[in-house]
Symmetry: C2
Subunit: 418 residues, 2 copies
């Protein structure tokens, strides 16, 4: 029943390509730093475009910088898309996103060879994708390119978004030569592979995770308004210290997680900016981004209420909630999960169903087409860190699994099962 072991992609070729790709924006500590549409993101993108060319795929770029490496088997038919993102957090690991894009490219090339040698009769066309700005660290919000693809965001609005120094998405993409005007391919299904970013697969010794749903998440932008004064002269009773108020919220967010059984709730503050931020001035303002997530929507709502109560309790400062967004827990299509389970069984790879705590472009894509999301193990679950690590064997098993899964999507297995 299997369509072959990632034909056209030898393990050595994959690892060699991955090492080359990881050299763009490499950090001394073994990670990468290539935020969306920076020069190093541009270098990585040119490497990918060159790879597409060398392997017979047609490179196209849409208005928001999503890159496609496609091949048309069936004139006019829609495309099975397979991809992830090349952009990274600042000082990030080299696997997050980049592994999924390169695995997609190798999977597509493998499928082309299967089609060429007649072992796969395609019902659909296929394209590897690099989605723009999944991370959201330079331009907010995250999942930007895939958000435009599915129609959640308007491309013209997204192009106007600016980074902290005022550079727009449009200008940043133009600067690296990736503000395209090609049409987006029509999608029929989507597959993505990613490192787990959690410790479950490694702890269990399982090779493949098949994602059934994403955790629910709430994200807040809040501003703590205090009053500027002199650290060395203003009486304590007269102070309205924005940093003290904001610090209490950070501690309160952490304490939320201790109100629930371990592992049920994540809560953290990643971004935190103090004004005027001078050694002898009591801070007048703090802006911060709070992020809480749970596998259980009821727990998330309870945590939300508790956080709002903690914010209401602060009286020395005034706290405004500038944005509050809920990303609900939603399911990946069960027919995609079952297709992946069959593929893993046929390949003899161990697998389990699991949830994704982090957001992925697949969370967007599943809103418009059947979507399969796969995980490979992460050592110690470390993520968004230069210490991120997935062993070579696991990377290669993932490429094999992705290729087999996508081959079945191209063959039309989803349609014949329904």
């Amino acid at each position: 029943m299997t369509s072959g072991h990632s034909a056209g992609s030898t393990p050595a070729a994959f690892l060699d390509d991955f090492a080359t790709m990881s050299s763009f924006g490499a950090t001394a500590a073994g990670g990468v730093d290539r935020e969306a549409a920076t020069a190093d993101d541009g270098r990585t993108r040119r490497f990918l475009a060159d790879w597409f060319d060398r392997h017979g795929l047609t490179t196209t770029v849409d208005a928001v910088g999503n890159m496609y490496g496609s091949i048309e088997f069936v004139p006019g038919a829609p495309y099975v898309l397979v991809g992830s993102h090349l952009d990274s957090q600042p000082t990030a690991g080299k696997y997050d996103g980049a592994y999924g894009v390169l695995a997609a490219a190798h999977a597509v090339r493998g499928i082309v060879e299967m089609v060429e040698r007649g072992s796969l009769i395609p019902q659909f066309n296929i394209a590897a994708v690099n989605w723009f700005n999944e991370e959201g660290s330079r331009f907010s919000p995250s999942l930007m390119g895939s958000g435009v693809f599915i129609g959640k965001f308007d491309a013209d609005e997204i192009l106007k978004v600016t980074d902290r120094v005022g550079i727009s998405v449009r200008d940043a993409l133009s600067d690296i030569g990736f503000h395209g005007n090609d049409r987006q391919p029509e999608a029929v299904s989507y597959a993505e592979i990613h490192i787990e970013q959690g410790p479950i697969l490694e702890q269990e010794g399982t090779t493949i995770g098949i994602v059934t749903a994403n955790w629910a998440a709430r994200k807040y932008s809040i501003t703590v308004h205090g009053e500027q004064s002199h650290t060395g002269a203003t009486h304590m009773a007269l102070r309205h210290d924005a940093l003290v108020g904001a610090s209490k919220i950070v501690v309160a967010a952490r304490e939320l997680t201790q109100q629930f059984p371990e592992g049920l709730l994540l809560a953290s503050v990643g971004q935190f900016d103090v004004e005027p931020n001078s050694p002898i001035v009591v801070p007048s303002k703090v802006t911060m981004a709070i992020d809480i997530r749970s596998s259980d929507p009821d727990v998330l709502e309870q945590a939300h209420e508790m956080l709002m109560a903690a914010i209401d309790k602060e009286t020395e400062v005034r706290i405004s909630i500038d944005t509050s967004a809920l990303r609900p827990s939603t399911s990946y299509q069960i027919e995609g999960v079952e297709l992946a389970e069959k593929a893993a069984t046929d390949l003899g790879l161990s697998y389990r169903r699991m949830l994704t705590m982090a957001g992925h472009d697949s969370v967007n894509l599943k809103d418009i087409v059947p979507t399969v999301m796969l995980f490979v193990p992460s050592v110690d679950g470390i993520s968004h860190s230069e210490k991120e690590l997935t062993h070579d064997d696991d990377l290669l098993h993932g490429v094999t699994m992705l290729t087999e899964t996508v081959a079945r999507l191209v063959r039309g297995d989803l349609e014949s099962s329904s």
Copy 2:
């Protein structure tokens, strides 16, 4: 016994000059923003140099940008210096420092007229001074120019200090045309007037504060080391969140102040920088500046021990104390305090002895010469804020008091009293 009401400086002229000076770097909310050696500091300095010229004083500038407006009455004799600083915190009030410099200029001009008309026989020469970078917000440490003047800092080392974007003191001063090479005048005594930056004079209805000593202060630079990870995927038990650790220290510093009777201890964190500071990344590092002060050196030491204990208690993160500096409580010379008291009595102005909580250039100068530090009331004690306010009457009483005090220093009253 009085030498005359600030001859040569009419109230209208002073208020008019103060309004003009406050227009440089003015903010919409009525304050100023002119950090050391910025373009707006340069504009204020050129206004002062022009004022010196128009009033017959010789403008000189030393290597670290201290500006002197001097006149020689007695060839070869040392100088009574009188001054403060024109630089401000970002979005600061318009009185802090600037009032003292303009009051000094008017006092010097008043004394020149007394000498010219024969009502004052000078034993010393006189110069108004604008000390470079008192605030320390752009270039650290604070009290920079006066620190070089008294030999506490080396001028060549200070010129190499850089701001956050890498611009050195030398380049910043050159850019605004105030990297001079004039000799520093030899000082015999020093006087300074400043807004109180506390509520005591206003609450009591007292016109003049005569400072007897400065509060003791401890300043710390600390770094909280965590480990970067993913806010949406890293299990809470695996986290080393630098922002959570740092926030607990901010809260602990505030709680210190509640361990002592009200008003005995000030504690705050003014500067606080988070890395990598991205919405979905658990922070790896926070650097912060802690500032604690007390009128009682024993209380300060107890607070120091308690703060160190709070830092030791944190186990999720590693905290390093990069610098820890003690500014002890030291006294202004009693003969200067008594000279000022006599001047206030003769002028019919109400006065009281008090401590200064904040640092001033006079804290440096008193280490080398007899120094008189005077305060005028601050409305609500508000400081380092655009809302800072001292009423015109209080400003003018201060100029009168400063002029009388400096006249007595020039006349040699300190010497004849000893």
